[in-house]
């Protein structure tokens, strides 16, 4: 078979997929509207609301205890209270009574300005802030620490303390514990990395595994198999169509995340699109493998839920794969999606260029090749099972 023939057949299959999709309102709704909207809006809303100025710490009640009562501490209060990130700073507590309120859900953190704060700044010493957080709310605690760090790093007390500003920037960053937390990520950036991958995985898997399952049950897969079209053209045609859907979904997710939830990805559109497509291709390959196992449409949905739970557990979404132990860590290291999430975090959050993530990319491209090869072999040898 010539390459031209192969490509022509693949395009015919892709065009056919598109025609079918266009007629299927529920497929359009689920693939292009419900899935991207549901995941993005749920995660966005779950992190505190909508709007480009959205901040996860904005509405968290935090007690402010000023034991220094100096010009510098008042300036810091003004800076924080006037910012969009600390709109619920509560004054009037003593340090003891504020700490006693932690765990009651009335306040989630206490920021204490110790005596000598201004003196330290003026003398060029490390000025300290003490931060108490509710141990029962680890996510909230991390967000407050990260956001506070970014403000103290940029804090400009006033003209009087200005000479010590450089020292302040370098050292006096609200206690050592905060400094070691590393970079902070504005708005919905973390949510964006999760949504971008999860939606493509969820949608692509169902579109391929569920699509072939439906074709098998309806007899159209057998129709293709009794025609001269090659298995390669069928696989490529379906992949091409799903890539088109992936691109549309990527733009939808980015649109909602950036304009609805204030995400500011530290990378360019090309990188985001490339990573979306890589995630999609890995998933499509796995979808073909599952389709070759002759599972029904209902089974595809069940497998999909297991897959998502599996991803949350082992792909570094909840706990970084380096922190997992034993077999869990082995599973995490083997899972291609671990590297996809890692690549997304490094590009979207840290602004690393895609091509610098050599190992992640090698593993992901290797996974695409392996999953497609497996799918091709399985579909070839299960041809008989798929139509009987």
């Amino acid at each position: 078979m010539s390459v031209a023939r192969f490509l022509s057949d693949s395009l015919a299959i892709a065009e056919n997929e598109f025609r079918e999709f266009r007629r299927n309102r529920s497929a359009i709704l689920i693939s292009l509207v419900v899935l991207p909207l549901f995941f993005t809006v749920s995660l966005g809303a779950g992190q505190g609301g909508a709007g480009t100025t959205f901040s996860p710490t904005a509405h968290i009640p935090i007690a402010w205890v000023d034991n220094d009562n100096s010009l510098a501490s008042i300036r810091l209060w003004q800076t924080l209270a006037g910012s969009p990130d600390f709109r619920n700073l509560i004054q009037g507590y003593s340090e003891q009574s504020a700490v006693a309120q932690l765990g009651t859900k009335r306040i989630y953190a206490v920021i204490v300005v110790p005596k000598g704060f201004q003196n330290d700044l003026e003398n060029g010493n490390q000025a300290r802030l003490i931060l108490y957080t509710d141990d029962g709310e680890p996510g909230v605690s991390d967000q407050i620490q990260a956001t506070l760090t970014s403000y103290t790093q940029n804090f400009n007390p006033n003209v009087e303390v200005q000479p010590h500003l450089s020292q302040l920037q370098r050292q006096s960053v609200a206690g050592v514990a905060i400094v070691t937390k590393g970079a902070t990520f504005a708005g919905f950036n973390i949510g964006l990395t999760t949504v971008l991958a999860i939606v493509q995985i969820f949608a692509c898997f169902y579109e391929i595994a569920g699509g072939i399952s439906r074709e098998r049950e309806e007899g159209t897969y057998a129709r293709l198999l009794v025609s001269p079209v090659s298995l390669g053209s069928i696989v490529l045609g379906k992949t091409l169509f799903d890539i088109l859907l992936t691109i549309v979904r990527t733009f939808t997710i980015l649109g909602i995340s950036i304009y609805g939830y204030g995400a500011r990805p530290n990378t360019d559109l090309g990188t985001l699109l490339a990573l979306s497509l890589i995630v999609a291709l890995v998933t499509i390959g796995i979808g073909f493998v599952v389709a070759a196992l002759k599972v029904g449409q209902r089974a595809v949905v069940i497998i999909e839920f297991f897959l998502i739970l599996f991803l949350f557990a082992f792909s570094g979404l909840i706990i970084d794969s380096n922190l997992l132990v034993g077999i869990s860590q082995v599973v995490s290291y083997l899972l291609p999606f671990t590297y996809a999430f890692d690549a997304l975090k490094r590009t979207v959050l840290l602004g690393r260029p895609l091509l610098s993530l050599t190992f992640d990319l090698e593993y992901l491209i290797g996974s695409i090749i392996v999953s497609y090869a497996m799918a091709f072999v399985l579909l070839h040898f299960s041809r008989e099972r798929l139509i009987t």
Binding site: R23, G219, R223, S227, T388
Partner: protein, 330 residues
């Protein structure tokens, strides 16, 4: 490739699914332009045979060629030469018949102008013009079946497989389809017509192969098959109000008389298919009178293809046993 004398040749073609042999040592040749019927009950192996010849499934043993191409070695070429209408081979429901045909035209490498002409031809042939843009899923089962035949004929195949093609069709459509198929054969297309309706092959097929339990029991023209069971006869008796008990007693008496293939009773008509003997009518009448039945009329007739089928496959009980075991295996 050698020029084939036969459009289809199978040699000891066998298909096993695990321990179950669906098709067992099938050897047959089907001539070019022949309308060949494969007759057998559900589970006899007809559809499996068709699927092997269509290259959908691979034989376990044996060989087969379609228009000179080996089904294993040149599967892609075989697919170019065949059209298939089968229960498990459908069109896209969310596409119109025209869109389905256009897709297939691309896959069968029909040049666009030629494809458009051919699609118009088929649309006219099946009176599809007004329904060209209707979705296949919205068509009635009869029209959907016609659409599938259109699709099977699109690339002018040399061999057409029509598997249980009349099931679900109204009688008029079924007759029209039978006539259409005959015309296709006159134009040189070889047709394999599988069915479990005994009356169909008798009307239209040049030759019939009777399949049972995966085996090809007999092949011949419908007349030859009927003749092959000329020792077989059917007695029709009009005997109203026969009870279950009387029927059981009658069966026992008939068994003593000789081979009985089938006893069917729908009040008041009793049909007994059995071995032909000189005094068959008298013997049956005697047995009926002995069980206390009333006889209004009695006659004998030559076997139909259906009866020949029953005789050739070993009788009603064997068929029932076979069907039961086939169901269990399924």
């Amino acid at each position: 490739m050698t020029v084939p004398e036969h459009a289809i040749v199978t040699k000891a073609l066998t298909k096993n699914f695990g321990h179950f042999t669906a098709v067992d040592q099938l050897s047959v040749g089907v001539g070019k332009g022949e309308l060949f019927g494969l007759l057998g009950p559900n589970g006899a192996g007809k559809t499996t045979t068709v699927r092997m010849l269509c290259t959908l499934i691979e034989p376990s043993h044996g060989t087969a060629s379609v228009v000179g191409y080996d089904i294993r070695e040149h599967a892609a070429e075989v697919r170019r030469q065949i059209g298939v209408v089968s229960e498990g081979v459908s069109l896209y429901k969310d596409l119109s018949i025209e869109e389905n045909l256009k897709l297939l035209a691309t896959l069968y490498e029909l040049p666009r102008p030629k494809a458009e002409v051919r699609i118009r031809e088929l649309m006219d042939m099946f009176a599809f013009r007004e329904k060209a843009t209707r979705l296949v899923g919205a068509l009635s089962s009869g029209w959907a079946k016609k659409a599938m035949i259109c699709a099977a004929l699109l690339h002018s195949p040399q061999v057409l497989f029509l598997d249980e093609v009349t099931s679900g069709l109204d009688p008029q459509s079924a007759i029209a389809l039978q006539e259409f198929t005959k015309k296709q054969c006159e134009q040189g297309v070889t047709v394999i017509w599988t069915t479990h309706y005994m009356g169909e092959p008798e009307k239209i097929c040049n030759r019939v192969g009777i399949m049972f339990a995966g085996r090809l029991v007999q092949v011949g023209t419908p007349a030859e098959l009927r003749h092959s069971v000329s020792e077989f006869s059917t007695v029709e008796v009009e005997t109203p109000g026969l009870s279950g008990g009387q029927l059981e007693k009658l069966r026992a008496k008939l068994k003593v008389m000789g081979q009985v293939y089938q006893v069917r009773y729908v009040d008041p008509k009793l049909e007994i298919s059995c071995e032909r003997t000189e005094s068959l009518a008298e013997e049956v009448a005697g047995a009926l009178l002995e069980v206390g039945a009333r006889i209004r009329g009695i006659s004998t007739k030559d076997p139909t293809l259906e009866e020949a089928f029953i005789a050739l496959t070993g009788g009603e009980e064997e068929i029932d046993q076979f069907l039961e075991s086939a169901e269990q295996k399924a």
